[in-house]
């Protein structure tokens, strides 16, 4: 999925999943449960809603805390992840998921002021 890397990926939360089907997105949430196979796990967003993430290969490490997932949304609303990024809780400032959610809402309420697509393709 190399096409995901160069393309602008809007940041979304669970309520916006279904508007982005078949599109690359960036999802930040807190890891909830990891499936025993290690190929799928659930994350909760700043509003407390849950989304499912599916990986190409099973996890090779313990996943916990806040994670940033980049992938494409399937027709069923599952994020098919191409890469993920764990935000370490022992370093730096603690990530405030609620504040992030507020910021997300602002970005989506005022797309005219946040033209990420234009910036990326320019």
């Amino acid at each position: 999925m190399a096409g995901v890397v160069d393309v602008p990926k809007p940041r979304i939360n669970c309520s916006m999943l279904l508007q982005h089907i078949s599109r690359p997105v960036c999802f930040v949430g807190r890891v909830e449960k990891v499936h025993p196979t290690g190929k799928t796990f659930t994350v909760s967003d700043g509003e407390g809603k849950i989304a499912t993430v599916e990986l190409n290969e099973p996890l090779e490490e313990e996943l916990s805390g806040i994670v940033e997932v980049i992938g494409i949304v399937s027709t069923k609303g599952v994020i098919m992840a191409s890469m993920y990024n764990m935000l370490r809780e022992d370093k730096g400032i603690l990530f405030d998921l609620d504040l992030y959610n507020e910021a997300l809402k602002v970005i989506h309420d005022f797309p005219q002021h946040y033209p990420f697509q234009v910036a990326s393709s320019g």
Binding site: I93, D96, L99, E102, A103, V106, D109, F110
Partner: protein, 587 residues
């Protein structure tokens, strides 16, 4: 023999009749009216009962004075009005009476009348006092309203607005709105203590002070919010410096003053406050006495400080916000500070707070002020409603610059372009603001100077060229000096830039090195010195700046000084940005 109207006394007493009653005058008593005319109290009989609660209206005084109306005479009560006393008894005011048989022509008391009593027996003086209140009304012929009872007093209840130093026999019925703490003093003339309070009635308000013995007599008796009959205080011109009370006079308790609790208080107003909007405080003079009401947004811990007179006092500050969106810091002292509970963002009202220009504008609850928490007044409810709906989300702009804390809702956030558009610093006083900005240029030339090595002296020393450095302020020479920083920098944000001067602490924070080390590097390793400035460039900080218009030889320029530099709190910043975006969107 002329027949008396038996039953008339009963009817008069009950208010059920008595017109044109034929009565015999049993007794007449003259009552000194004090400041007014004399009054005559008459005891009348209808043959069955006597009633002593008859008052002759003053226009008929002449009848008594000329003895036309005298004990034993028979008369017809042509016109009268009755007043109802608080305890249910009536007084009959005689407005017109015809003597049909003069006293000389009557042998004696007709019949064996017994005194008609109804309810409690009250001292005669009471009757007089209550009637005197209404004699003016009675003369006009109107039916007067309920007379407030004045137990124990020989004066009428007067409105506060009518009090003056030229009348000493009066009683007021008022509610205590404000009671200060007891204050003691000790000077060359001796010791003393005093307390003061403010009382209000339908007509106005007035300040009352009690000294020494009166403090012992009245302080514990008097409770804020309760209504009392107060009499016989001495009136004098008010000293407006100490109070916000609207009255030309103020009064002092004397040895003869009385304070009696009153039960019937529903028509005495609760509290008279003239609240000033917090945004308007900027326009008031410092040291003004102000009433204010607002939501307690935040409150600090109690701290102890030592005053100039070496007394230890406790104090606590709280921030108060009202619908103007402005916030002001209020300082509480002593017991009030210790007892204050600011949890739950209560509505706080202060009557008689002192406005100071400390940090711009701030308020202090002096010993004269009254602090009310969640008072039962309409302004409080309005504030509560506003705060729950919108106020709680507002940051509020503070009129008070606090040293060091930028937390809470107290900082005055500005963008650099605001400094110019709002003409900050153009007033008499310096303006303080906080902003987030990025350093875009640091002037490394002349950023260091040689200062006096003495502890608290930072004056530039003169190089004597002989290995000694002279400080003019300390008037001493030293073989050494200490390096101090004065850093000129240009900071910028999205809208504008600003030249600022940073002194020692803020400069060291920006450069990340202390002045002594920098001084050393400058002399020894210029490359390393330059590197420090390169690294410091383009960093973003929270700056707290002071701006003031300064004039040098006909040229005026805004000078900005950095008071404090802090790293950016991104969470706080994000929250503020989101709030501002939402606010802008709502407009």
């Amino acid at each position: 023999m002329t027949k008396l109207s038996e039953g008339a006394i009963e009817a008069l007493s009950n208010g059920t009749g008595g017109n044109d009653a034929v009565l015999q005058c049993v007794n007449i008593r003259k009552i000194d009216g004090g400041n007014g005319p004399a009054r005559f109290r008459v005891m009348m009989s209808d043959g069955r009962h006597t009633l002593s609660s008859f008052m002759l209206s003053t226009q008929l005084n002449i009848m008594a004075e000329e003895n036309r109306l005298a004990p034993n005479c028979i008369c017809v009560l042509k016109k009268h009005v009755t007043n109802m006393l608080k305890d249910g008894r009536r007084i009959v005011i005689i407005l017109e009476i015809d003597v049909i048989k003069p006293a000389e022509d009557v042998a004696g008391k007709i019949g064996e009348p017994t005194p008609y009593t109804e309810g409690k027996v009250v001292a005669s003086t009471l009757l007089i006092s209550t009637v005197i209140v209404h004699f003016s009304v009675a003369v006009v012929g109107k039916a007067p309203s309920a007379v407030p009872n004045t137990p124990g007093g020989t004066s009428k209840v007067v409105p506060i607005a009518s009090l003056n130093p030229y009348q000493s026999k009066w009683t007021i019925r008022a509610r205590v709105t404000n009671k200060s703490t007891i204050r003691t003093w000790s000077n060359s003339r001796g010791d003393g203590k005093l307390f003061s309070m403010e009382v209000v009635d339908e007509s106005g308000e007035i300040r009352v002070t009690g000294f020494n013995q009166e403090v012992d007599k009245f302080y514990t008796l008097i409770e804020v919010g309760k209504v009392y009959y107060i009499s016989k205080c001495s009136l004098k011109i008010a000293n407006k410096q100490y109070t916000s009370v609207k009255n030309d006079y103020e009064m002092t308790f004397s040895g003869e003053s009385t304070v009696i609790p009153c039960d019937d208080s529903c028509d005495v107003p609760m509290v008279q406050c003239d609240f000033v909007s917090i945004s308007d405080l900027e326009n008031r003079d410092k040291d003004a006495i102000i009433d204010v009401i607002g939501v307690c947004k935040s409150v600090e811990e109690v701290t102890r400080i030592t005053t100039k007179s070496n007394r230890e006092v406790t104090k606590r500050t709280l921030s108060l916000m009202d619908m103007s969106g402005k916030v002001v810091t209020v300082t509480l002292w002593g017991e009030e500070a210790e007892k204050f509970d600011g949890s739950g963002q209560p509505i706080v009202a202060i009557k008689g707070a002192k406005l100071s220009d400390f940090g711009g504008r701030s308020l202090s609850a002096s010993f004269n002020s009254t602090l009310m928490i969640n008072p039962d007044i309409p302004e409080a409810y309005k504030l509560r409603g506003w705060y729950d709906k919108e106020g709680h989300a507002m940051d509020g702009q503070s009129l008070t610059e606090l040293k060091g804390g930028s937390g809470g809702g107290n900082t005055n956030w500005k963008a650099l372009s605001d400094v110019k558009t709002e003409h900050l610093g153009h007033g008499d006083k310096a303006d303080y603001y906080t902003c987030i900005a990025t350093i875009v240029y640091l002037r490394k030339e002349n950023c260091l100077y040689q200062a006096c090595p003495s502890q608290d002296c930072n004056k530039k020393v003169v190089d004597q060229q002989n290995g000694m450095y002279r400080c003019e302020k300390c008037d001493k020479e030293f073989p050494n000096f200490k390096y101090r920083l004065i850093l000129s920098a240009n900071i910028a944000d999205y809208g504008d830039n600003q030249w600022v001067t940073c002194f020692q602490e803020s400069a060291e924070a920006i450069l990340g090195q202390n002045a002594a080390y920098l001084g050393q590097l400058k002399d020894s390793n210029e490359t390393a010195f330059d590197e420090i400035f390169q690294q410091a460039n383009f960093n973003t900080f929270v700056f707290r700046n002071r701006v003031k218009l300064e004039t040098y030889n006909d040229e005026s320029r805004i000078k900005a000084t950095v008071m404090d530099v802090k790293p950016v709190d991104h969470k706080d910043y994000s929250k503020r940005l989101i709030m501002n975006i939402r606010k802008l969107a709502a407009q």
